[in-house]
Amino acid sequence: MAEQDKSISIEVVYRGIFQKTLAQRICRSVVLAARKDGHTGTAFARYGDSPERNGVPAKQFAVVAADEIELEASMAKYEPAVVDVSIAVDDTLVKGVESWAWYGRQPIWKPVRANGWLLVTSEKTPDAVLAQTDKAERPYTLGIVPGGASFAGLWVFKDDHTDYRILGALAKILPQWISLENAKAATNELAKGNESAIASVQAGYDSTAMRPVRVGEGTSGHEVLQFKKPGWTTMRPGIIVEARKPGERNPYYKKYGARTMRPVVNFDTCIKCTMCWLDCPDECFEVTPEGHYEVVYSACIGCGICAQVCPVKDCIVMVDELKFTDNVDKWQMWKQDKPAYNAWFEKMSGVSAAPPPKAARATDAGAAASGGDD
């Protein structure tokens, strides 16, 4: 009997805090549905992720086993090193997972066993998602569950049925553990008889697009970020770490993996007011020789504060992270070829790079003074 016949492990990779409740609901629903098929199981969060931080990738798990002995064997290790299914509930997570300092940037499929599954909630095609996923080292199946990144669980859980659609998708790929019938039965209890929830299970079952991924498919464009941790004889005593030198950034924790959107800057309309540079909580702006402020993408967590505080309309625009295939800073590109840069800016941001007419500028200034234009 293969390991996966005795038990299965499922992980949900999610944006810390924003999707915690969602991840918890998915993991619980897996166990409760499998229970109806006569299995047993456990659902738990990765302890090291707590306290969670905004957007920083975190994980929760569901383990389903044939019986108590198998469950105990699975639970003997807190965090599964190998999973049958990894579920990313935000498609930008396929760019890699960096959860804390020295963790490195792990490919999204890292714990997925050979011929396992990677389910991603996305509005993009499987190929578009795969193009941003690290090059496969083992074959697996990429399943795209239609839908955007759900932040339904941020303050109160406003259910958009992402959890039910994922349960339907799991019923499709793991029928021996979760039958569609019992996925619906469990959902019926969880959603207190809400028929649209049961329809969402069916929708997830029907609409998940499967894309087999061969070894070598995917991108090699992401940064390799792996560390060997020092031992007690090589660590400094007294719980001491070197302070960063001026201009130096933390090499062991980059945090850009927390980003779902990234700021792009229109250097032509920038008025060099310093607001973005001052308010950035990660000090990720560098001053250019002309006094512009460029984003250092390897330090930007995509919080969007710069775009909020920028007084010039459409000067800093937040753009879907998956649109970008590199992490390269952009001021040099603008410096060398401004028309080409502005064309790139327009293509990425979807807004005009041209400065607004003078009259409109006055209106914008008024709007900014009265509290922003959003």
Binding site: G48, W232, M235, R236, G238, I239, I240, A243
Partner: protein
């Protein structure tokens, strides 16, 4: 009013003072040229606080003396002062010591050589302030060095040793000297006060090296650590604690050379053990009534002696094993208790039994709980302890699986 500040006076010759244990410690603070001390009153530790304040008021000592708003702040203050390179002193007693527990635990983890006294006091079943060792012993697993003093002289000597050993780069751990409340903290002994010149020869300047928190040495101390790091940090502390044994031996040898005191062994003080068949072992001032009993009972032909343990952490396992293996039976006297522990014994009893477990030739080890809450160990009690230890020697090993409460009303 103009306050006249007298210049600090130094004596060129060793002097004698009639001083309590607390006053002896204050003299050590002066001689060690401590930079920062933090204080908060609780009996019996507060005797040091008063004695130090008096030295400062009389212009004899120059130290940043900070009265904190409680023990937790008190221990935090010295922890931080130490990180920026100050030689520090702090102390407390009983439940005050416990109120500082968070800071106490972290100080060891951060490897900051804070020197403290724990004026041993019962853990406050309302208002009890007599001596009991459970306050010091509560930190036994945290990485603090724990010596115990017998006399005011030894309190002063151990304090000078404390800065030397704790601040040694191979150790860099905090240290808490145990002083028995009342018996030592508040009783006066003739104490030899060494010269500043001799102390300077013994005690080098405090130097944290590249661990100094200073703008010229930009470092972060105590970032959040998780399961990726904590085992390595604990192992580093373990290594430092192991190193401490050798550093104590070195310091003890130097101390003897410079001051001519300190006994044969840095770890054990033996009394009338040469021909002894049965000994008792304990810490702190309980040695005094036991010595009286030994002298008295030896006249009746009992071959008995005393071993006083001077350092509980690091535990001098090698010395304890070697010494105690010579005897037929050992009575361990605990001025502490560990409810529900093996054989319902004290802390020292179980540590000593553990140290001797794998020895082919080992004594019968029997436990005694005595003198709790500052109760006197009177001569009939001392006699009873020796009688029971001798009886255990005759009865054989299983007689050791017992702890006797001595002097408790039925």
């Amino acid at each position: 009013m103009v306050v006249e500040v007298k210049p600090r006076e130094h004596s060129d010759v060793e002097t004698e003072q009639l001083a309590t244990g607390c006053e002896a410690i204050a003299e050590a603070i002066r001689l060690a040229d401590v930079d920062v001390m933090a204080a908060y009153p609780i009996r019996p530790y507060d005797g040091v606080m008063q004695a130090a304040a008096k030295l400062i008021a009389n212009g004899k000592m120059d130290v940043e003396y900070i009265v904190a708003d409680g023990e937790h702040s008190q221990f935090e203050i010295v922890k931080h002062a130490c990180a920026v390179g100050s030689r520090v002193f702090v102390g407390s007693s009983g439940v005050g010591w416990f109120y500082a527990f968070e800071a106490i635990a972290v100080t060891a983890g951060l490897r900051l050589p804070v020197v403290a006294i724990c004026g041993n006091r019962a853990l406050d079943d309302p208002g009890a302030f007599g001596t009991e060792h459970n306050d010091s012993l509560a930190v036994r697993d945290l990485g603090w060095l724990l010596p115990w003093a017998e006399t005011a002289q030894e309190a002063l000597d151990l304090a000078l040793m404390a800065w030397r050993v704790a601040e040694d780069k191979r150790v860099s751990l905090p240290i808490a000297i145990g002083l028995d409340g009342a018996f030592l903290t508040h009783s006066q002994h003739i104490v030899k006060i060494p010269t500043q010149e001799a102390v300077n020869r013994f005690l080098p300047k405090f130097d944290l090296g590249d661990r100094l928190l200073h703008p010229d040495n930009p470092i972060t101390i105590a970032p959040q650590v998780d399961q990726d790091w904590l085992m390595e940090i604990r192992r580093q502390n373990d290594h430092a604690m192991r190193q401490a044994l050798g550093v104590i031996r070195e310091a003890h040898a130097d101390f003897k050379k410079i001051f001519g005191r300190g006994g044969d062994s840095p770890f054990l003080d033996e009394y009338m053990t040469d021909d002894a068949e049965v000994v008792v072992i304990g810490q702190g001032t309980l040695s005094l009534p036991m010595k009286v009993a030994i002298r008295r009972l030896r006249k009746e032909g009992h071959k008995i002696g005393l071993v006083r343990l001077k350092w509980f952490r690091p535990f001098p396992t090698e010395e304890v094993v070697k010494t105690l293996s010579r005897f037929k039976a050992v009575g361990v006297i605990d001025r502490d208790y560990s409810f529900g522990s093996p054989f319902y014994g004290g802390v020292l009893y179980n540590e000593i039994r553990s140290a001797l477990y794998s020895q082919q030739k080992r004594p019968v080890i029997v436990g005694f709980i005595a003198g709790l809450g500052g109760r006197e160990i009177e001569q009939p009690m001392a006699t009873e302890i020796f009688e029971k230890t001798e009886a255990a020697a005759k009865a054989g090993p299983s007689a050791g699986d017992t702890c006797h409460w001595i002097g408790v009303r039925e």
